[in-house]
């Protein structure tokens, strides 16, 4: 059962190299999906999952410790909370500027961009929040599930 876990560094060069090559592209694609959610399929969730998957791929190929050099546990913790906080924060901000909760058009009072444009931009802001949350949580879930909660060794 544990034979898969016992990979040591340097054994599977092809995987490592290809992962190293792919991960940046995956990440860019993830960002693209988040940002381009307005115009094509995708959005915060999908992009977040893709971003998270890139880190999971790193962890799979190089071990958990290595992946935690790209995103440390404490940074991950901050991201965990930052994501929902962005979403809720945008909502609260709307109420502070005289609108109802999550009524992005109210933010026009903050920076006048135009009511409809603010709606569009508000959706974007919110999607970023979702993306951050989903990415970090997916990584967190993987770390925990694959290490039984210790978050030190991977599969």
């Amino acid at each position: 059962m544990r034979d898969i876990n016992e990979h040591t560094a340097g054994e599977d060069l092809i995987i490592k190299t290809s992962v190293r090559l792919m991960v940046p592209f995956i990440q860019v694609f993830g960002l693209y999906v988040i940002v381009h959610g307005h115009y094509s399929p995708g959005g915060g969730f999908q992009g977040g999952v893709i971003l998270g998957a890139s880190f999971i791929l790193l962890a799979l190929a190089f071990g958990m410790k290595a992946s935690q050099e790209y995103m440390t546990v404490s940074v991950n913790a901050v991201f965990n909370n930052l994501g929902p906080a962005i979403f809720v924060g945008v909502g609260v901000l709307c109420t502070l500027f005289g609108g109802l909760f999550l009524d992005y058009s109210a933010l026009d009072n903050l920076i006048p961009l135009g009511v409809v444009e603010w709606r569009s931009f508000g959706i974007f802001l919110v999607e970023v929040g979702v993306g951050v949350a989903v990415m970090s949580i997916m990584v967190l879930l993987y770390w925990n599930l694959s290490s039984g909660g210790a978050m030190d060794e991977g599969l």
Binding site: A77, V78, N80, N81, P84, A85, V88, G91, V92, T95, L96, G98, G99, L100, F101, L102, D103, Y104, S105, A106
Partner: protein, 496 residues
């Protein structure tokens, strides 16, 4: 802060607090208590104001994102949901005092996780009572479920297994609910509850409507552990960490019952749900069975906490039965019992928490002579027990009053008998414990060992909410009249 957004802030503040607890609590435990208590105090304050406003001006409707319903999601604060908000806020605040202490003892190092989940559970409960959208309800139901899974699984030993069973049952429940909503959606094309209530009676689709109602109700019944579907509850509630139990036990089933009331009254309209008299009659029979079985099963338990969980099952029978009596008194009784049972359960679970904090166990054997060691705790326990039995003027009596009256009005004598029998069984259950605690470890009746049991009350941190809850039991009981006239009466649909 804009006053119209207040009820949203009741929900958002604990949510932000949850995030803050997670972030700051990691660094130092010092942050947790002020954040939890502060945000919940705000919620209590806010919900009381909302309650006052609703009673004065009538139902508040709020459209999130300023999109008119049914296009956007609507939040509806009618007297019933305002009442539930106050209930949740008060119970959560009282429970959190005790939880802070017991979590410190039971789950050192995991306090910030615990309280993050704890606060989000409260947020989810607030959301559930506020929302006027059927799908939003599903999402919030899942929030409360997931947090509850997590909280329960944090317990020791068998807790993980109980939690897993709960996950399976909870998922089935949620899926059933979602299926029912799907059927409703395909028939009406809308998800707004008021809208559904408007459209549904005009449709000519009896079978699909009935299926939808059935699935939503069965989903909720699983969630509230209505009798034949109750098997997950006793293990889950009795093995959860003590701090989680004090919050989950009083609120989860009660809020689910509230949802059932909401679904029946404002989504499906009573006319549709109670079309077939034999169905309502069957549910009342099932409820009577639930009451009797819950009580009898409670008799067989050797642990106070487990015993209480079975009593919860019986109490669910009270409430479901009361609603399906399909008359004004029954419905009033059910809604009143939601409030009363929440406080009664809170009181008893706070007692459990206090005892566990001091002696680690609430098995009946370990309760011998407890009156001498923890007199104040046990005085509160006695009050809670009286409320459960239904001794006036504690609140438990008055909801039972309405329920029995509803049973008499509707000619449901089986329900009346079940209620009375369960009161009697409750009396046996609780006096067994009171007797144990009172007579102590003196099998042969000599009283020489008085001095050995020294007094060891739980810390004030746990004791004061307990005493307060015990007082609330009587206060709520005595204010039944205003409660019914100003709040619950307004919710009884016409034609009842």
């Amino acid at each position: 802060m804009n006053a119209t957004n207040l009820h949203l802030f009741v929900l958002v503040v604990p949510l932000l607090a949850a995030l803050a607890i997670n972030l700051l609590g990691r660094r130092s435990r010092q942050w947790i208590a002020p954040l939890v208590l502060g945000s919940l105090a705000f919620s209590v304050f806010g919900s009381v104001i909302i309650m006052a406003r609703v009673v004065e001006y009538g139902t508040l409707r709020y459209t999130v994102g300023n999109w008119q319903p049914p296009y956007g999601i609507e939040l509806v604060v009618d007297p019933l949901s305002a009442l539930m908000m106050v209930l949740i806020a008060v119970v959560a605040l009282l429970a959190s005092f005790s939880s802070l202490k017991s979590v410190e003892q039971e789950l050192p190092g995991r306090e910030h996780f615990f309280f993050t989940l704890y606060m989000i559970l409260i947020v989810g409960l607030f959301g559930l009572v506020l929302t006027g959208d059927a799908f939003n309800l599903y999402v919030l139901l899942e929030i409360t479920s997931i947090t509850t899974y997590g909280l329960i699984a944090m317990g020791k030993g068998r807790a993980a297994l109980s939690s897993f069973n709960y996950i399976i049952m909870g998922s089935i429940a949620a899926c059933f609910y979602l299926l029912g909503i799907g059927y409703i959606y395909i028939l009406t094309g809308t998800l707004n509850m008021a809208d559904i209530a408007r459209i549904l009676p005009t449709l000519n689709a009896p079978v699909a409507t009935a299926t939808a109602i059935a699935f939503v109700l069965v989903g909720l019944w699983i969630k509230m552990a209505f009798f034949p579907l109750h098997s997950w509850l006793p293990n889950a509630y009795s093995q959860a960490p003590t701090g989680a139990g004090t919050l989950i036990a009083p609120l989860m089933t009660k809020v689910t019952v509230y949802l059932m009331v909401r679904v029946i009254i404002t989504m499906y309209t009573p006319a549709l749900v109670f079309t077939h008299e034999w169905i309502a009659r069957g549910v009342v029979w099932a409820a009577s069975l639930a009451i009797i079985c819950g009580s009898v099963l409670a008799l067989g338990q050797k642990d106070l906490r487990r015993m209480l969980t079975y009593i919860i099952i019986a109490e669910v029978g009270y409430m479901v039965g009361g609603i399906f009596l399909a008359n004004a008194n029954g419905l009033t009784g059910s809604i009143l019992h939601i409030v009363n049972d929440a406080f009664m359960t809170l009181c008893l679970f706070l007692v459990v928490a206090a005892i566990i904090y001091r002696q680690g166990s609430v098995s009946l054997v370990s309760l011998r002579g407890i009156f001498r060691r923890m007199p104040i705790t046990m005085a509160a326990f006695t009050l809670g027990a009286f409320a459960m039995i239904g001794v006036p003027p504690t609140c438990g009596f008055f909801s039972k009053w309405y329920l029995i009256l509803g049973g008499i009005d509707g000619g449901h004598w089986e329900f009346v008998v079940a209620l009375i029998v369960s009161s009697l069984i409750n009396a046996v259950l609780f006096f067994r414990i009171i007797e144990l605690g009172y007579f102590g470890s003196l099998p042969d009746g000599d009283n020489q060992e008085h001095a050995i049991d020294e007094r060891r009350e739980a810390p004030w941190w746990m004791l004061s909410p307990l005493v307060l809850t015990a007082v609330i039991l009587i206060v709520v009981g005595l204010s039944t009249g205003p409660l019914v006239n100003n709040v619950i009466r307004l919710m009884i649909p016409v034609g009842f």
